[in-house]
């Protein structure tokens, strides 16, 4: 199975005032296509930094970031943005939906950057909402939906352009247990039935249990917690 994500000798610093803090020290990570990986660890351990690097939202100080066959460390800002639009779907903890747009309007956003016709966009939006079980709520605005439904809309937005990789940053962090389990089941479904590679950052061990592979970050270093059967 080929690599969906390959991080090699990654070093990343952040500046806090005058001080440079090294968050990742020569980190290596390989994620195969179709894997569902969870990334756990305490705050400040570098989980979100890895997610940002894989998603092309941040640059490494040194090392190689190869995602879906593309070397991100060499890409310019504009090229990275376009690449993100077609290769990566993002799922956020607080959904990050546009409050004035309907569910369908939010899901359609990534497609506005394509040359698809309105009819085709509409078809894909319907299909994405169907997958997340919200087709009947397409006309509702985020404020009219529950937290779980909003996260489903967020997931539909992430998959509507059919990216190979989904990056989820605490996707259940703002949900109750039952709703969180529904969302995690949906992510599992996307992983198994639609072959999406998923990298999920979480603080929740129960959420991490839904992943096929669990990784733990500790002070900038990755610890493999072993393969589990999801």
């Amino acid at each position: 199975m080929s690599s969906a994500v390959s991080l090699r000798n990654i070093v990343k610093h952040y500046r806090r005032g005058r001080e440079a803090v090294e968050v990742l020290h020569g980190l290596n990570l390989e994620i195969a296509e179709g894997e569902f990986v969870s990334l756990m660890g305490p705050s400040g351990s570098g989980k979100t930094t890895i997610l940002n690097l894989v998603g092309g939202l941040d640059h490494v100080d040194s090392g190689e970031v190869v995602v879906a066959g593309a070397h991100l460390e060499n890409m310019s800002g504009g090229a990275l943005t376009r690449w993100r639009g077609s290769h990566i779907g993002f799922v956020f903890q607080f959904y990050n939906l546009m409050p004035m747009l309907s569910a369908a309007g939010n899901v359609e956003l990534p497609l506005l950057l394509t040359h698809l016709s309105k009819t085709e966009r509409r078809r894909r939006v319907d299909a994405a909402l169907e997958i997340v079980g919200l087709k009947d709520r397409a006309g509702h605005k985020p404020g009219e939906l529950s937290g779980g439904q909003q996260q489903r809309v967020g997931i539909a937005r992430a998959i509507v352009a059919d990216p190979a990789i989904l990056l989820c940053d605490e996707p259940t962090g703002d949900l109750d247990r039952a709703t969180a389990d529904e969302i995690l089941a949906l992510l599992q479904q996307l992983n198994r039935q639609h072959n999406k590679t998923i990298v999920m950052v979480t603080h929740d061990p129960k959420a991490a249990d839904h992943a096929g592979r669990q990784l733990e970050m500790d002070k900038g270093t990755l610890i493999e917690r072993g393969m589990v059967v999801a």
Binding site: T48, N52, G55, L57, D58, G77, G78, T81, R82, R84, G85, S86, F90, F92, N96, M98, P99, M100, L101, G105, L109, P110, L112, L113, K118, R157, A161
Partner: protein, 386 residues
Amino acid sequence: MKFLPLIWAAVMRKPVRTILTLLSVMIAFVLFGLTIGMNATFDKVAAGAHDDRIWSNQRFFGTGMPLAQAAQTAQLPGVAQVAYVGGLPGYHETERNRAFALMTSENFGKVFPDWPITPAQWNMLHKSRDGILISRIQADTWHLKPGDIFTIVSPQNKRADGKAWDLKVVAVVPDVDYMTGGFMIGNYEYFNKALPLGQQDKIGQLMTQVSDPARTAAIAQQIDAHFANSATALQSTTEKAALDISTNGLDLAALDRKIALAGMFMVLFLTANGIAQSVRERLAEFATLKTIGFTDRAVVQLVFLEAALPCLLGALLGVGLAAFLSGQLPRLFPPGQGTPPLPTMTVMVFVWAAVCAAAVALVSAALPALRLRRLDIATALSGRAA
């Protein structure tokens, strides 16, 4: 067009703020429309001025110029012909209804061939001693049609027989741009002979047509020099200069432009503040858009269009309201008194408004757009961007 729902959603996120901004922009553009419309009127009037005509008035206040000055002026070198007018001011029925008729010499139509009066209409006037030609505005004001009698009571110019002036409408003619309140034209010959002997042979204004338009200004000076030592010294002005607002002391056109510019600065500060606040409140939303693939260019376009929407809509509504108000302004003036120059809402006024609105949107969106270009997505998504 596919971004329109996104832009509309952003604009209507705070509807009260948007509506107040729109109203402010609209009011500023009413002012803009009226002032630039005034300049359009000035330009139109100046463009219609003939370069071969001179207007001469009495230099100092008096009871009028001797009729003989017209004949003397006609004898000066370079003068083609001279027309003259006397004024018949007064009122119709009650003193509130002020009226004014311009009593013209027989050759007035030849000196002013550009006035929209046909030779047949001039003939009708000349054949009817007490006849008047009346322009459309005046006809509408007084509800007159050909054949009607219009009576002017003139305390200043009483008839020798003590009667009021009964003037017969011989034709209704189109208006002239710079006669903004319309006009009535009668026969000077009839007017002059009907006055008491002591008031006869006085005129109010001389209109001289020159043979060589290149010498108009020189001939105007020549006319003034000729009558410099007479009891009624003249002040002559070329028609071009008389109708060019920028040469008449206070340059109203320049003043208008400054008022319009001040209005635009008001709109600029208002819009710039509004869009900056709106972007500041939605940094996480813009970061999300950039995360899911919106390029810097697309985000900058969104911000510009978000600023442009209230500007362009406000400009359209504001200039539209200015056009409506311009049409209503003549109603504010009592009939017969004439009106000051009124704004003309030409296509160019609307074009200028659109250009200014787009420029204001561009400038006011510039700083927020720059901020979004530099936005660090990871920081903004984490909620740390201020």
